[in-house]
């Protein structure tokens, strides 16, 4: 047995003596009550307090139970009829017990008062009890109550009226204090998370017990032996008080019972888990459905979820509903963070994290790979978008520069041609120059269009594809079931899929026609280019189709080339519209 347990054992024995001794004193003072029943609540609080101190050393509820035992049985020792003791027993014993019970209730199950209101309520209850105790201590003269052997008393201002008034005021205020206490309990319930509410259930039972006990107390008499019904009520009161510490102790130790769920967790983790299933297992074991698991990046300052998406940890506690973060470490290195309900027992969370250690390490590696893949994909998308932006800039420069100058030159040549009408040789030369210039303008326009199609910017995808079909050497039918604009990277990708596919059809397919279908379904753009040519296209050969596949994948799309048995080729790209 450890030194601490020896200490608790000694404390238990001492308090046992305190309770039994108090009853012995009462028996010798001929107090008319059932001493066995009177001792039961004290013994119950004593055992529960010692167990609570042993199992939950950092929790003050154990000490409050011990304090309750000490204070409650002061009254019995007051029957000792030796100097001072009856006054102390009569004042403190009567007044402070309820305050300690209220403190126990509001600090359940953590042992801490959480809000300013709770602290104020408990402060007021202790304050009223202390003032009443002090008045009684100063004014109570047991000799006036028939204590013939009480030779010397503390009471410097003996006054039966003052004692009765203090008792009366304490009783009247007690009603308000009970209401304040119930309000604090109700506020806790309202602000509590689901897990906290589960933990608070024993508190509600305890509150009900106390209410029933106090209600019964209203019928009880200070001299129960002369009223048989009141005496029966008093006996019931005592028995109900026996249940109070048991309820509290059950609540305190329920986390220990929940640890059996960690055993189930170990069994569940003894098999390969699909991505994200670890979170579900931990949530089940800890009975915290919204629990989240984030994974530390390898060598980087950041966190990702199981899918590899970057996430950030919640801010440190700033309110009653703020989540708690428990960081799981291995060898001093952070592996994961469990974001859970603050009401969860920290030891239980640590136990679950330890049980899931290997699974957490595995899922972290998978999350790291997914995060890296996502980074590569995002990087590829940025490269494609940067390339598109550059193409747009080049096309704009051609339009603003060379095309403008060539258009102006064409006007100059036309004017010169008009003036040279009387000189046939000059007119012929100017006609030839104008024809060359028109050809150059047409070629430059086609080049600019290939770099970046202005119509795509101006009119959107369906119109741009229509224009492509119009310029195609083959008859191309375009079927589009939408007309609205899509994000630029999506439009550009789809356009280049159609442009490259139609170019391939013209060059290699020996087809007599082609069909382009553009459709949107469930947030996905579907682009299909079908021809009736010889088929045989292969996306793995030829840089054109492979480049298209890369481009489509860069926007999270899928790309496929089919060669149906009845001939022809179908290029199919599916692109999420929110990519």
């Amino acid at each position: 047995m450890t030194k601490r347990r020896w200490g608790l054992f000694a404390l238990g024995i001492t308090l046992l003596g305190w309770v039994i001794g108090g009853e012995w004193v009462s028996i010798h003072a001929l107090v008319p009550e059932n001493h066995f029943i009177d001792a039961l609540p004290g013994l119950s609080f004593l055992v529960a307090g010692i167990v609570a101190l042993d199992r939950r050393p950092g929790n003050c509820i154990g000490w409050l139970m011990i304090a309750y035992v000490v204070v409650s049985y002061l009254g019995n020792w007051g029957n000792l009829q030796v100097p001072v003791v009856p006054a102390i027993g009569g004042s403190i014993g009567q007044q402070l017990g309820g305050a300690i019970l209220a403190h126990m209730g509001l600090s359940y199950p953590t042992g801490r008062l959480r809000t300013r209101f709770e602290r104020a309520v408990i402060g007021i209850i202790y304050g009223v009890s202390s003032v009443a105790s002090l008045v009684i201590l100063l004014a109570f003269d047991p000799r006036a109550d028939g204590c013939a052997r009480c030779a010397w008393e503390l009471a410097p201002f003996p006054s039966r009226t003052a004692v009765l008034t203090a008792n009366l005021v304490a009783q009247r205020l007690g009603f308000i204090l009970v209401l304040l206490f119930l309000a604090a309990v109700w506020l806790r319930w309202r602000r509590a998370t689901p897990a906290e509410r589960r933990e608070l259930a024993p508190l509600w039972v305890a509150v009900c017990v106390v209410c029933v006990v106090d209600l019964m107390g209203a019928f009880a008499s200070p001299f129960p032996v002369v009223q048989p019904f009141a005496y029966l009520v008093w006996e019931l009161q005592s028995l109900l008080y026996v249940s109070l510490p048991i309820i509290f102790l059950w609540g305190l130790l329920s986390a220990r019972l929940a640890r059996s769920a960690v055993g189930d967790l170990v069994i569940q983790l003894d098999r390969p888990l699909p991505p994200g299933e670890l979170r579900a297992c931990l949530a089940r074991a800890l009975v915290d459905p919204p629990l989240e698991v984030l994974y530390a990046r390898d060598g980087l300052d950041g966190w990702v979820d199981a899918g590899g998406q970057p996430r950030s940890l919640p801010e440190p506690a700033s309110g009653p509903r703020t989540k708690t973060v428990t960081v799981v470490e291995r060898g001093g290195q952070a592996l994961a963070a469990l974001i859970h309900d603050p009401a969860l027992d920290q030891g239980l969370v640590q136990a679950a994290a330890a049980a899931a250690g290997m699974a957490i390490a595995n899922e972290r590696l998978q999350a790291e790979v997914r995060a890296q893949l996502e980074e590569v994909r995002a990087s590829r998308q940025r490269i494609v978008e940067a390339g598109d932006a550059e193409r747009r800039r080049v096309e704009r420069n051609i339009h603003d520069g060379a095309q403008q100058r060539m258009a102006t030159l064409a006007l100059s040549l036309a004017m010169l041609r008009d003036r040279a009408a009387s000189d046939p040789a000059m007119a012929a030369s100017l006609d030839q120059a104008a024809a060359e210039l028109r050809q150059a303008i047409a070629e430059l326009r086609e080049l600019a269009r290939g770099i970046h199609p202005a119509i795509l910017t101006e009119e959107g995808l369906p119109a741009a594809v229509e224009a492509l079909a119009d310029r195609s050497a083959l008859p191309v039918r375009v079927l589009a079931d939408f007309d609205e604009r899509l994000p630029w990277p999506i439009e550009a990708t789809a356009y280049f899929v159609v442009a490259e596919s139609l170019a391939n059809v013209t060059k290699y397919a020996r087809a007599s026609g082609a069909r382009v279908e553009l459709s949107r379904c469930n947030g996905t753009l579907r682009v299909a280019v079908t021809d009736n040519g010889v088929g045989g296209a292969d996306a793995t050969r030829g840089s054109g189709l492979r480049g298209l596949e890369d481009r489509v994948c860069a926007v999270r799309g899928s790309f496929r080339v089919d060669n149906p048995p009845d001939g022809g080729t179908r290029v199919l790209a599916e692109i999420p519209c929110d990519a």
Binding site: Q403, T408, L411, M415, R438, I455, A464, D470
Partner: protein, 127 residues
């Protein structure tokens, strides 16, 4: 269009390239048009068109501030308003159906601009 048959057609040129404006003015004047003004951007094009009430506005689609399509919307092409002819160094097919939806009288590629093509567009027989 305000001009009556046989009267001199009054033209406003809106284009941000001074060289093109100068050549277009010379070409149109030589062909008997009266160029009543020039503007280098869309906002001043709208203002000058309202001030001078030309018969024809030769309007570049790509302007530094607003597009030629927006100028068409603000100046309007209905009765009593100037006939607006869009021009661009790009081809009409680069704009899809936007030109025909714009309310402009027609479109001429800049390199194709001449008195003949302009007259054809104004009379509704042009490209």
């Amino acid at each position: 269009m305000n001009a009556s048959i046989g009267a001199v057609v009054r033209v406003l040129i809106v284009d941000d390239h001074p060289g093109f404006r100068a050549q277009a003015r010379a070409l149109l004047v030589a062909a008997g048009y009266e160029v009543v003004g020039e503007a280098a951007d869309g906002e001043s094009g709208v203002r000058v068109a309202r001030d001078l009430s030309p018969d024809v506005v030769l309007l570049d689609i790509h302007l530094p501030d607003i597009t030629g399509f927006e100028v068409v919307q603000r100046v309007g092409g209905g009765p009593g308003r100037p006939a607006i002819v869009l021009i661009s160094s790009r081809d009409a097919s680069d704009y899809g159906r936007r030109i025909e939806r714009s309310g402009a009288r027609g479109f001429i590629a800049k390199a194709e601009l001449s008195a003949r093509t302009l007259a054809a567009v104004i009379e509704g027989t042009g490209p």
